[in-house]
Structure formats: structure tokens, C-alpha cells
């Protein structure tokens, strides 16, 4: 017979209790749903703390769901998601933007979301927030936030150049004159910051400029690269480059610190610029509004337009936990906490819904920059020719833009070479 002394009995009790607790823990771990979330928010220093907090808050509110955040850089995420979708190993949810969203939809790997969006959420979505996110199968991506580009102007630099700081240029001619005034009065300032790199994002960013001249090189209603409007756009780009009004070859992100230091007069950038500049310069909101204003793009022969640089959330059709995945998507895009801790703070963008349900958040949307974007700029959003051929078109068009900006080849030849490189 086995005899237990008091100490032995205590140890045995503790052991049994620990075993039971462990089994219970194991059972609850087994019941837990694990979602994989591929995103670049966790890959970037400025947004990582915000997204990590939002994920932690979601997990706290939904203890049955674990979110595994997979950090992938912005420039890599489309490639990785396409390859993972092809190899049958996609994440449950992913952050995506621009042409990459449409590319993923084209693979047929995305779950249509119409069935998940309840009526009240559909009614609360901003008008046009889901534009370009639908195909024959319905809604293939949910708008997480809105981040269109605006024409930012530095009032102090304008004033020093003898320009009215409250009257930003409205036409291409006014802009050209303003650039000349700035260059002659402040040679160390970059008069206009635009992205002229050769990548798909650069075409998205330059598309509204082309449209300002009435040029539509590809897509619906295309007039080709050899149209008079496209040549006018290329000629203007060459003119402002030769005059030293732009600094070619820089990514838009490389202009932001310079803008924060007061070395850029005009910059064509997204709503997030405010957060980036304030982060770099530690400028207060009041000082920022005194220094910077934002408005619509100056127009030439065409109308002012802008592009949507906001981020979307997609769910993969092969995922096993679709209800949980949708719950997470809905939380990221609509929960007041997520909007406060990520969308409007670290990501410095606008929510895709009309009312957040929190008065202070809705009030923050009334500040000058957010208001200018909501009231003036977002209504000028225009669709882009996104699709599988967009990257090829971007390579051809941006190579031509670079040639116009940096070379001496006749504009007619450049336009012809762009046309030759466009997907037929």
C-alpha cells in the first residue's frame, strides 16, 4: 500500500491540479481560432506600434481569436500574396492597395465580401469608398481607409516668393508661374515634389497630372500615348525639369523629410503627409495649419482629379475561418478604437465610413486638412486603369516620363516609344 505523508499529498494535489489546468488550457488553445494577417503596417516603424495595439485590442475583445501578424514590406506584399495564392498558402486576411488589390482579385483567389457587409455598414460607407473594388463577382476588397493625394502648398515659401499664400495655383499656367517665382526667390527650395520613379505607384501618382492635360494614354477612353494631350504633358514635364523646378528620380517618400524641413514648396502627396511631416518636425497642429495648406490639383485642359492611395483589406477564399476573418476586417475598418489608434493617428488617413460612432473622432475629421480632403479632394477621385496590364503600362509610361524629364530625345519619339511599349 502506498502511503502519503502530508507533504507528499500536497505535492500530488498540486500536480493533479496543474495537469487538469494544463489540459484545460490545451483544450481552450485547441478551440482558439488563429487568423493570419499579412500587412505592411507591422513592417514600418511609424505604423507598427499602432497596428500591434489594434490587434491586441481585437484579441482582447475576441478571446477566441488569435491574430498572427505577418509583416511584409509594401513593395513586396503583392508579389508574395500572388505567389502564396498560387501555391495554395495564402493568409486569411491581407492589407493591400492600388493596382495590387485588382491584381489579386484577378487571380480569383479572393472571397467576395458582399455577403458579409450588413445593411447598416453598407449605408455608413462613404460614397465612392468602394469604387474600383467591385468586379462581376461583387465586392472583392473592403476599404480600410482613404488616403487620396492632394496638392500641398507651403504658405511661408509662397509668401517669400511674393505669392498670395491663401491662393494656391489653380491652373497649370498659374503653377508654372508660381514655380518660376519660387525658384528665382529661393534657389535652395525644391519648387515641386512629384514622384518620377519607374514603378506602378508612380503611374498612379502621375495619372492625375496626365488627366490635367486631358491625356489618357491607356484604359477606358484611351487616346494613346501619341495624343496631343500626352505630348503636352510630356513637354511640360521636360520644361519644369530643365528649369530645375522638380528633382527627378526621388521617390515621394524621399521628399517628405525635405518638406518637413521647409525645403519643398509644393508637394503632390497623400493625406498621410501631415502625420509624416509632424512626426519629423514635431510641429504642433496650429503651426502646421499656419504653414501648410492642401487643395485640388491645378488643372490644364482637363479637370482636376486625384487617385485613391488608401488601403484595402482582402479575405482569401481558401481561408477556413471566414467569419472570424470578416470580424477582424470589420473591426479594423470601422471600430472607433482602431480608427483612433491606427487610421487617423499613425496612418494619418481618413476612415472609409461616414460616422465613427464617437463624437471626438468625428470632430477631428473637421480639422482643416481632413476637411479639405473630405470636402474638396475626395470628390475629384477618378478611377485608374488598374488591372493585369497596369504594371506593364506603368513601366512603359514612366520610362517615357523619365526620358522626357532627363533626356534630350524629341517628345514625339518618346511618345512613340511609350505607345510601342504599352500592352496591346
Amino acid at each position: 500500500m502506498i502511503r502519503f505523508d502530508r507533504r507528499g499529498l500536497r505535492l500530488a494535489t498540486i500536480s493533479i491540479a496543474a495537469l487538469v489546468a494544463g489540459m484545460g488550457g490545451a483544450a481552450s488553445a485547441q478551440d482558439k481560432i488563429t487568423l493570419t494577417f499579412a500587412n505592411w503596417a507591422a513592417a514600418e516603424g511609424t505604423t507598427r506600434p499602432g497596428i500591434e495595439k489594434v490587434i491586441a485590442d481585437f484579441e482582447a475583445a475576441n478571446p477566441e481569436i488569435d491574430v498572427v501578424s505577418e509583416a511584409i514590406s509594401f513593395s513586396e506584399i503583392a508579389r508574395q500574396l500572388v505567389l502564396r495564392a498560387r501555391s495554395g498558402n495564402p493568409p486569411d486576411v491581407a492589407q493591400i492597395a492600388g493596382n495590387d488589390t485588382v491584381l489579386l482579385a484577378f487571380t480569383g483567389a479572393l472571397e467576395p465580401l458582399d455577403g458579409y457587409v450588413k445593411e447598416n455598414l453598407a449605408a455608413n460607407l462613404k460614397q465612392g469608398a468602394d469604387a474600383g473594388l467591385r468586379d462581376d463577382g461583387g465586392l472583392f476588397a473592403f476599404p480600410w481607409n482613404q488616403s487620396p493625394a492632394g496638392f500641398w502648398y507651403n504658405k511661408e515659401i509662397m509668401q517669400k516668393a511674393g505669392l498670395d499664400p491663401n491662393k494656391p495655383p489653380r491652373t497649370i499656367d498659374e503653377l508654372t508661374a508660381a514655380l518660376a517665382a519660387i525658384k528665382s526667390s529661393q534657389p535652395d527650395v525644391i519648387p515641386l515634389a512629384i514622384d518620377t520613379t519607374n514603378r506602378a505607384f508612380a503611374l498612379s501618382s502621375n495619372w492625375p497630372w496626365m488627366k490635367s492635360f486631358g491625356a489618357v494614354p491607356v484604359g477606358e477612353g484611351a487616346t494613346g500615348a501619341e495624343s496631343a494631350e500626352m505630348k503636352a504633358y510630356l513637354s511640360w514635364m521636360r520644361k519644369i525639369a530643365q528649369a530645375g523646378y522638380i528633382d527627378p528620380g526621388r521617390r515621394i517618400g524621399e521628399f517628405r523629410p525635405l518638406a518637413a524641413q521647409g525645403h519643398v514648396a509644393f508637394i503632390w502627396d497623400q493625406v498621410l503627409l501631415k502625420g509624416v511631416m509632424q512626426g519629423a518636425s514635431k510641429m504642433s497642429d496650429d503651426d502646421f495649419y499656419k504653414t501648410w495648406g492642401v487643395t485640388t490639383l491645378p488643372a490644364g485642359a482637363g479637370k482636376p482629379t486625384t487617385f485613391e492611395g488608401g488601403h484595402q483589406l482582402v479575405m482569401f477564399a481558401s481561408g477556413k475561418q471566414k467569419e472570424a476573418a470578416w470580424k477582424f476586417i470589420e473591426y479594423l475598418a470601422t471600430s472607433p478604437d482602431a480608427i483612433a489608434n491606427y487610421t487617423m493617428s499613425v496612418n494619418s488617413s481618413l476612415p472609409s465610413i461616414k460616422a465613427t460612432g464617437k463624437a471626438e473622432l468625428d470632430a477631428a475629421l473637421g480639422t482643416p486638412v481632413f476637411k479639405a480632403f473630405s470636402d474638396e479632394i475626395i470628390p475629384t477621385l477618378a478611377p485608374q486603369p488598374y488591372g493585369p496590364d497596369f504594371a506593364a503600362a506603368a513601366t512603359a509610361i514612366m520610362a517615357g516620363v523619365q526620358e522626357a524629364v532627363t533626356g534630350s530625345q524629341p517628345i514625339d519619339d518618346i511618345a512613340a516609344s511609350i505607345q510601342l511599349g504599352l500592352p496591346q
Binding site: 513601366t395 532627363t406 533626356g407
Partner: protein, 305 residues
Amino acid sequence: MAAETTTTEVRVRSRARHEPWLDRMVLPTLVVMAVVVGYPIVYTIALSVQNYNLLDFRPAAYVGAANYTKLAGDPIFWGSLANTAIYTFGSVGVSALLGLALALLMENLGGARFRAIRALLLTPWAVPFVVVAFLFRYMYLQNGGVINAVLLSTGIIDAPVPWLNSSTLALPAVMVANVWAMAPFFFLLLSAALSAIPNEVIESARVDRAGTWGMIWHIKLPFLRNPLLISSLLMVISNFNDFAKIWAMTQGGPGYSTSTLVVYVYRLAFERFEFGYASAVGVIWLTMLMVLAWIYMRVLRMESR
């Protein structure tokens, strides 16, 4: 003596006749090679005759030589091929000359001070390629770059030069960065080769009153020929595949002025997802590399004789 040699040769030939053409001991190596090297090559060749787009989930369609026909008329491919040749042979040629000059200059300099200089000269080789690329990218900036700042302040130029933003200057500018990173390799290798020249040869030349140039031209260079050839071929192969520097500095631009074959393949495969066409370019690229590798092997064999 002659009869002895003949008997040995007969024995060797007889042994060679009895050796199996495939030893089972090399099978594991062959299997590994087939999986690691053979399969990707065969698969790339198979893809090159298909219309295979990664975005299209339908099965790939066999298109025969269509991708190769398209390639023959593709001006970007030919431009990229020309850029690859200029970048590779230009960089290797200049680096080899620079490395040789440095090795000859530093050959007889001893002492701690010169050892430190020697170590300093080697540091660019130790810097990762991506770091080199970004370093030069920021140095070349049209506004705010240190190169333009120095040239402007010394009055050599009166306006900033668009080093990486000019179709004509971009490729030479990238090559300068490449030469900076590669020349130390040649310096290291040729310094070792110089120190291996027998002292008797040098002494004899001195006795014959060979001058500095005569010594370099008639004595040292013949000794350096083989190491120079082998290292150059090695670097040609390495530069043929160089992606990091060009991508980080110019992404192949402005226009296509710095686009090389590897950059073009990357854009086709990972931006446009046209794996079929990208594979066709890859097969041509692979063929050229194999020719270079074959030349390299021949040179090595010649040297061992």
C-alpha cells in the same frame, strides 16, 4: 625505359576501360545536382515555351517559340543586353586595371602605416552591395548630394549634375559605384600573385638592368596574366548577375538606360508576372552565362597544364 612507360600507359588505359562510366558513389551528388540545379533549369526551359502568367489561374498554354520570336523583336531586351555587356565588361575592365595599378603601387611598401593603407583599400570589398548602392545613390543626389556639393564649391561645375537622372550619365555613374566596390578584389588577388613571383626572376631582371616599365611589362605582367584572366572571368560572371546595385540605385532608369537583363527579368516575372516570357529571357541569359562559365573552365584547365 621506353618499354616501361608503354607498359604503364597500357595498364592505365586498361584500368580506364574497366572503370564504369557512372560510379554509384557519385549518385547522391548527381541526385542533389539534378534537384537543385537540373530541375530549375529544365522547368525554366519548359516555361519559356508556354504562355504562363501567374495572375491567370488557367493552365499555361504551349506557345512553341513564340516567346523567343517576341524577344527577337523586343527593343527593351536588346537594350538591356547591350547595357549588361557595357556594365559587365566596362566595370570589370576598369576594376582590373585599377586593382593592378594599386597592387603594383603598394607592392614594395612595407611597415605598419602601409599595412593600414592596404587594409583601408580593401574595405570597399567588405561593404555589402546594397549599402554601396545606397551610399552612392545619396552621394549622387542632384540636390543635396555630396558629389555635386564638392564640385559646386570647388567651382568645377556651376550647376548640379543629374548623375542618376540623366539617360547618358546614369549607367557610367552606376559603374563607378561598382568599380569602387570591385577594384579591391583585383587588388587583393593581384597583390598575392605579385608576391608569388620568384625572387630569382626579379633579381635576374635587375642584374639585366630592367627598368621599372620593363620589369612590369616583361616580368610581372606575364606572371599576372593567368590570375588576372581567371579573376576577370569570375567577376564577369558575377557582374552579369548583378541586381542589387542597379535596382537600389536606379531601378533600371531613367527610361531603360540602366536596365540590364537581370532587371528586365525581374520586372517581367515579379511586376508583370509574365513567367513564360521572363523564362525565355532567362534561358538566353543562362546560355550566355554557360558560355562564360565554359570559357572560365577552359582557362582554368589551360592554367593547370
